[in-house]
């Protein structure tokens, strides 16, 4: 499977995750969200950027708790919870937001 952004092809797996995290450009997130009929706001972008930074450092997506803590710090305490994250990413912050950010899918019993 492949995702086409501005005429350029990006390889993805069966579930639509980017095959190579280093290929990622902002257009990937925009194209993926358009397929889900979701419009990316500044809040979405902030989370996508945080995910990429965290991955760069630790080679894994952050745990939900780490993500909610970071959101609380950046966007205010009332937004530091999974409910808020699900309101932004209805398929789940771990899975949908990670996909937009070009991260591999978190696996296991999660």
């Amino acid at each position: 499977m492949a995702l086409v952004v501005d005429g350029k092809e990006f390889e993805t797996d069966e579930e639509g995750y980017l095959a190579n995290i280093n290929d990622w450009v902002e257009g990937v997130a925009t194209a993926m969200s358009a397929e889900d009929e979701l419009e990316l706001t500044d809040e979405h972008w902030d989370i996508i950027r945080f995910l990429r930074e965290y991955y760069e450092e630790y080679q894994i997506a952050p745990a939900v708790r780490i993500l909610t803590k970071a959101v609380a710090k950046r966007m205010g305490k009332e937004k530091g919870n999974s409910k808020y994250l699900y309101s932004l990413f209805p398929y789940g912050p771990g899975k949908q937001a990670c996909r937009y950010a070009g991260l591999p899918k978190p696996t296991g019993c999660v």
């Binding site: 069966e14 579930e15 630790y58 080679q59 894994i60 745990a63 939900v64 708790r65 780490i66 803590k69 999974s82 409910k83 699900y86 209805p90 398929y91 789940g92 771990g94 899975k95 591999p104 978190p106 696996t107 296991g108 019993c109 999660v110």
Partner: protein, 510 residues
């Protein structure tokens, strides 16, 4: 919640036995593992030309190794007792999800090639008169589909007068498929991560250390007490092996903080291990003794390297089954551990013992905002025990919940204890590509839960398995309930515990 692209079953007052509707789930097939992941696990990368011969060789091998498998295949009398007992049949109406029909997918091939009657009538071209069938590609496709619609929960075996265990038949079928290069992506890629990184998540040591540090800070912020979550601490008495979801997901992580608080108050010397940073063992789901052994070996090695005296398992259903039933056979003997303690021990046994000793300061009223019920996890309920008395796996979790909560209500007894319904996501099915079968398979549990919510004011359901917790988080919203209505048992312990020296409401100045 995500939109469903399938019909979500309607919740009724009772669990209804559906009218048989063939092939409703014949389209369900999980993604296949890529060749490199198959090879990593010791299997061929893709389907060979002589797959049938190789599959029959594999079946012959398993029949020789496991007499139980042959007994199960020979002894079914088609009495029908199991037909309405599987949550996947109840939720999908597909007759191939009746346990007997699922077994028959393998049994008919067994009968064709391993029994006199099957060979004889097979040669005449009428194998079906003796319940046998040629092993064709269509049959193989059915195997891949329907043996990935079984969570190996063993509920059917409770009702079978012969004790036939469909779980073992499912495991054998998956092992045979793996041996001809047909593997499931979810299970097999995860096993690869365990070998490479140490856990199902692929959580590297540095990220794990950082996560644990963050949790220590959180506990201190909340209570004012320094509670440690030690990693790779040599010379600790206890090695805690827990599912990696406990480091990552909600509500799992709240349970992990609960274990840490219990150890802290008990004054225990304990550690987690970056090598054995996973309790789960998907080798069991794919029926592969070799992979189950390889995944278990990390626990033995970690215990030896760290020099611990005891091994305790965190809240994980199938891990406890592997640990309780097979660990000693797989990677024993554990003669280097302290013989005063069971090998291995469940965290709930530990916590319950501490409660009986009176080490923990509990204020039950701190959980008064909740009315709890308890979901017995299938692998704990039907494939293991806990403590030193029969039925301990049912009593100990309930005892612990009742010791920390004033409000507890059990669900319909035809859905609890040894008759518990699977959450719908066990046995290697907890993957997005199987969401339809997961949601439909959760129907009986959702029905029973919905009834206690309606009739008894239940607000939350507690569980002791990482898969159950993740599965319910995902499927509860499909049935109109909240994803946060599922909690960890040790999360309840944690929220009712008052640590020695803990800040109380009175001295909080915010």
């Amino acid at each position: 919640m995500a939109k469903a692209n399938f019909e979500v079953p309607e919740l009724k007052d009772f669990i209804e036995i559906p009218v048989v509707t063939p092939d409703t789930m014949s389209h369900s097939k999980p993604y296949m593992a890529k060749p490199e992941f198959q090879i990593e696990l010791g299997f061929p990368g893709e389907l060979p030309e002589d797959w049938k011969d190789q599959a029959l060789d594999a079946m012959g091998d398993l029949l020789g190794k496991y007499r139980s498998l042959q007994v199960y295949l020979d002894s079914c009398v088609k009495c029908g007792a199991c037909t309405d007992k599987c949550h996947y049949y109840i939720g999908t109406k597909d007759p191939k999800n009746m346990p007997v029909a699922r077994q028959d997918l393998l049994r008919k091939v067994y009968r064709r090639y391993f029994t006199f009657a099957g060979k004889f009538f097979g040669k005449l071209g009428i194998p079906e008169v003796v319940g046998a069938a040629d092993f064709t590609k269509d049959v193989l496709d059915d195997w891949y589909s329907y043996f990935h619609q079984c969570s190996q929960c063993r509920r059917c075996s409770v009702f079978c007068p012969y004790g036939i265990d469909t779980a073992e038949i499912s495991m054998a079928a998956r092992e045979i498929m793996d041996r001809i290069g047909i593997g499931q992506k979810y299970c097999n890629e995860i096993l690869g991560k365990v070998y490479k990184i140490g856990n199902n998540l692929g959580l590297p040591e540095r990220a794990l250390a950082d996560t644990l540090e963050g949790l220590e800070e959180d506990i201190e912020d909340e209570t004012g007490v320094k509670v440690r979550l030690p990693l790779d601490e040599k010379g600790a008495d206890i090695l805690l092996v827990t599912p990696s979801a406990d480091f990552f997901a909600e509500p799992h992580v709240d349970g992990l903080m609960g274990y840490a608080k219990v150890f802290h108050e008990a004054g225990a010397s304990w550690t987690l291990s970056s090598k054995a940073s996973e309790a789960g063992n998907f080798g069991m789901f794919i029926g592969s003794y070799e992979n189950m052994r390889r995944a278990s070996m990390r626990i033995r090695e970690a215990a030896l390297e760290l020099g611990v005296k005891r091994i305790i398992f965190g809240e994980c259903g199938h891990a406890w089954r592997v640990a309780y039933s097979f660990l000693n056979t797989l990677v024993g003997p554990f003669d280097f551990l302290d013989p005063k303690y069971p090998v291995p021990q469940h965290i709930l046994e530990y916590t319950w013992n501490e409660m009986k000793k009176g080490t923990l300061n509990i204020d039950k009223s701190l959980n008064d905002d909740m009315v709890l019920t308890f979901h017995d996890s299938c692998n704990v309920a039907r494939a293991s025990r806990m403590g030193d008395k029969p039925g301990g796996q049912f009593e100990i979790p309930r005892n612990v919940i009742k010791a920390v909560c004033n409000n507890f209500v059990d669900m319909d007894p035809s859905t609890t204890r040894e008759k518990t319904f699977c959450c719908g996501g066990g046995g290697g099915l907890l993957t997005d590509d199987l969401m339809e079968i997961r949601v439909k398979g959760a129907l009986p549990r959702m029905t029973a839960l919905h009834n206690v919510i309606k009739d008894n004011g239940v607000t939350h359901m507690a569980a002791i398995c990482a898969i159950c917790k993740s599965q319910f988080t995902k499927v509860l919203p499909y049935y109109g309930m909240g994803m946060d209505q599922i909690v960890s048992v040790h999360q309840l312990v944690s929220s009712a515990m008052i640590l020695t020296g803990q800040n109380t409401d009175d001295d909080e100045d915010e």
